[in-house]
Subunit: 355 residues, 4 copies
């Protein structure tokens, strides 16, 4: 255990502290024969990098593949990818050495390990997601080969709720064109909101929606390794995530069975709705898989706030350093990566269901 390994067949192990030497991922169980280049990984890592607008630390994040690829194809042996940490202003953290930053894992890491790397959160830093995105890039290529595609976007930011699938103005092509990764044209009031929060030294949260197309029916395991259970744990394992819902989600609680059951609308297993989010009994139905996840506002804010120090005494602090005003847009590729990793694993597992 110890928590840094994920998956059964397509399995990743990640490592790295925010201000250590490098971040990395080892992918074990990626099938042999997959075409893979360092550019494939670089391209996904770029999507995770901060826009100049976010306010956060920017690093080139150049991945290096240490093993597992030969003549442009995966060998079936572990694919190790590392990214050196280069832009570390560790000094920013000196005064936080004995302070537990509110909303961070500083206190809990000390409680667990008796000791921690206080620089930028160490292992609990958001920078840890870099390894996930690198590994997810490989999973995505494997899934694409089998016709499965994953797209995520910001569906809510602060008090702005963006169009849903099927609604007017909903346009997935917009997502990668705007710095908020929203599925529609970005307008001035959104930008102003962003600016205002930034000026206040505060931060904002939001929702991410994720859509998987092309997944065949029959993917997922019963009982404890349901596809939705695994996706839930994969997404909730992203530091800032506080909730997840599938299909109609929390809204089902107030629906009647006759409304919630997805209605057949055409022969050959076509449905008028997708309240189930493409998963029944933990196994894919062949419909699109859909879920939504809640992300909290960045806990690091420059606005003054009270915090505990190591002795349990209250101190007023203002967190310096380079922090995202809103982490949510940058979490979009992370959500996609985690989804890809779960699906790649289950797709392989599904090869073992029948004699």
């Amino acid at each position: 255990m110890a928590g840094n390994t994920l998956g059964e067949i397509f399995k990743i192990t990640t490592f790295g502290e925010s201000h250590g030497n490098a971040m990395g991922a080892v992918i074990d169980g990626c099938p042999a024969g997959l075409e893979l280049s360092v550019t494939d990984i670089e391209n996904e890592l770029k999507r995770r990098r901060p826009s100049s607008q976010y306010g956060s630390r920017d690093e080139k994040d150049m991945p290096e593949i240490l093993s597992g690829v030969f003549e442009g194809k995966t060998l079936g042996s572990p694919i190790a990818i590392i990214v050196r940490n280069t832009n570390q202003n560790s000094g920013d953290y000196d005064e936080l050495k004995n302070i537990y930053r509110p909303g961070h894992a500083d206190f809990t890491y000390d409680a667990k390990y008796g000791f921690r790397d206080h620089r930028g959160g160490g292992r609990s830093s958001g920078r840890e997601t870099l390894s996930r995105v690198a590994a997810g890039a490989v999973a995505k290529i494997f899934l694409a080969l089998h016709g499965i595609k994953i797209r995520a976007w910001v569906s809510l930011f602060a008090d702005f709720d963006f169009p849903s699938i099927g609604e007017e103005n909903f346009d997935l092509d917009e997502v990668e064109k705007n710095f908020m990764r929203i599925p529609c044209k970005i307008n001035e009031s959104i930008k102003q909101k962003f600016e205002k929060i930034s000026e206040e030294g505060d931060s904002a949260g939001g929702n991410i929606s994720c859509l998987v197309t092309g997944a065949p029916a029959g993917i997922g395991e019963p009982v404890f390794d349901k596809l939705d259970a695994r996706l839930a744990s994969s997404i909730l394992s992203i530091g800032a995530c506080k909730g997840i819902e599938f299909g109609a989600g929390f809204a089902v609680c107030s629906m009647k069975g006759s409304d919630n059951n997805d209605k057949p609308c055409g022969e050959g297993f076509k449905f008028a709705t997708n309240n189930c989010g493409g998963i029944l009994g933990g196994i894919s139905t062949g419909q699109d898989i859909f879920f939504k996840a809640a992300f909290k506002p960045t806990p690091s804010i420059s606005k003054k706030q009270n915090a505990f120090d190591k002795d349990g005494k209250i101190k007023e602090i203002s967190i310096k350093g380079r922090h995202d005003i809103c982490i949510v847009p940058r979490a979009v590729p992370v959500v996609e990566a985690m989804t890809a990793l779960a699906l790649a694993d289950f797709l392989l597992l599904s090869r073992c269901s029948r004699i």
Copy 2:
């Protein structure tokens, strides 16, 4: 894999189809020396049994401990518990043999395995949760020994929202006194709602809230095995669950960082709020752990609805048999069981964090 085993140290494996010979659980890794009797398990199973009001199949569910307990104490070897299935009206299901019931796993199981036990959902039946409750009973005793207590209740039913922790009328002592397991006195309008849905041949969903008290700080693993990630997967693995949120949950999306960060309110790590739900960076803070989960309305309804048959053709059906109008109250002990299993596992794992 194959999904029927859960946990790393305190590990359970469950088995059983709804209309097969027996349901069961094997608990491996329960520490030696725990006082355990069959009555402890029976008492939890009773909480899962249907009230006469629910409309569902009633079985005595008498557990038998086959192994792992000697002279009233756990041996450290696997504890196998079985419950015979006795009240099986398999005939109820004959006409559903070639029909995929809407909202059920009938179609997905066929897609995965090419074959299924159609009687009552087979392995995907809600009856499968019996094994979870039996195993959870053991986990609860272990946790209680370490001062950890778990309580769940129905916090929303159909369009009734019940009082939250700290609100007036919120009373956990009420939960086990009323058939809806709500944390307040039950009133006539709730009962009438229940009756009305029943008369319509329809069903209702709801929320379950869960509170863990007494968990020390430092429980949980980093990155992929975060305590909230594991709880999410544990709870989402319950058939009817469609979502989960921790602490302030989806509401954090619209909060500012300065609001969401829990504020110190007294020396020694006391906080004015618990927006984080008692978990930061995937590790317990020592506050109460709190989450809420969404449960869909029972998909089995006697009201007429369209469904696909095996050939993808649409048929009108009315599902007979004994089905819960609202599964949510009976899912309360299941949520507690899953929470207990996750915590027991992590509590043991936390013994290995330091040299």
Copy 3:
């Protein structure tokens, strides 16, 4: 962990103490669609039962399938099999309550758990292998479907060394015809040896050889899950086993590379020898897989010997009860079962090697 689960895809969990209510196995991950009846399991269990000549406790060992099979075929859900313990003379063990029997796990279980079921060794009893044989019966059927067959036999007993594969008089058809499971006609001197040891109140050890035919090339995982590594751990996990060797085994230590390397003897990957035992780099070569395992003499003997009591004091004891003079013939189906379980798992895993 806790040691009672084995395998990654074709995975078993076993339970049961020698004098508890029942022994059992849960097989999770057996592919759906396999024809399986209780007779298949019973037939293998019969092979594990003592011959009247062995001197050991005899039970009917009637298996019951609790789940996972529907209309004669596996469902893909867990197959739970139990066998009630019926012939328990627990009284035999009363005087051993505070004695650590030499060569048994009595002391080590107390050291680990602080407490034990002293009746017949509890979980550490040889009776535990019943669960392995039951589960192995299912694995064997799956393997047979893919053309893989497993045969084991006694190749050495006390100071009798029996013919090897290819040698004159070696005849696998003899194995199940004689009570010693040797691959040749049994003669009087062997029987006399057996009688003599029995009269002395002593016991004897021996070797078991195992041959797998029909395994395709490419089965096994690299590095830590090599096929031979898994087989080694599977066989060494049988209580009385003290060693294993593959192919030419310990003899390779004194061979030169030019002698040990298997020589091509005909186009299409045919070899003159099988020093490698059908495995190179942990992966099957397509040749027969062959290994030999060492089994110690039964530690329970009626002959007087010294033992430690709970306080570390030396006591003279004579172990009563029904014990095998030589456990080795009865371990033959256990070795086959463990081999089958390893191969079934790796055969499924091999479906995931390529894109």
Copy 4:
């Protein structure tokens, strides 16, 4: 799965092909607070490096710690260690591209993956053990903290059998003083044997013995994860290993129970013999743990031999490049590393045996 991860709590994942960019190991689950420097790892890696006498490729093998250590102590987060491959004469392997070297995994990797890195065996190279030794160095430090020490040596080389524990001339202090790592003074006839095999372009095998002192009673898991089962799989996972035996090993097969059972020789659990090798029922007895493993002669020899090419045709080859005449002395630190990894894992697991 996919075989490159080992352990449950103290868990390692390794990666790297012989002629790829780097070899590496990620240790997850090493407890926090352990003092660790890069020199600790370097020192163990030096022991694995070839003596000039062995004839094999020499690289500096400079380890770099990428994560998991802060201010000289382990953080509890994954410790990633890499070693760059610098001395790669890939050209040596060009003519072997379409040849399956006898005794190597060339054919089996192609059979499994449909494709391989032919340069120096790729992932199946002996160079892979570098990662094990690096990780084992960390495990050793953890074990030393708990009083557990591991020593291995060459106990047989070609036809030379070296003194055993307790025999005259047996001296563990000699092991690291001679290039053959034998537990006694090395003499001329051994050196001449070595030279002769070298001149013939051939290779030799041998045995390694391993002794663990200081392990408390009660370490190990029951049934499938017995300490000896895990050690067997750990040691057999080393490429050239063909067999293992514990305590008296294969010799027990011809012993009587009354001889094999270790005899008490003094109050307080002292024994006259250690036929059990310090393990009973898969759990440590508190005596020394002892086992012996068989290693085959290096399959790469310059002497001419026949081999199959990719089409199954027979070709005569002479393997060039730098190969060990006898790999056994260099496998000594690998055996120690694998033993350390197994024990570190079980030592942590043993913390969870009791309530």
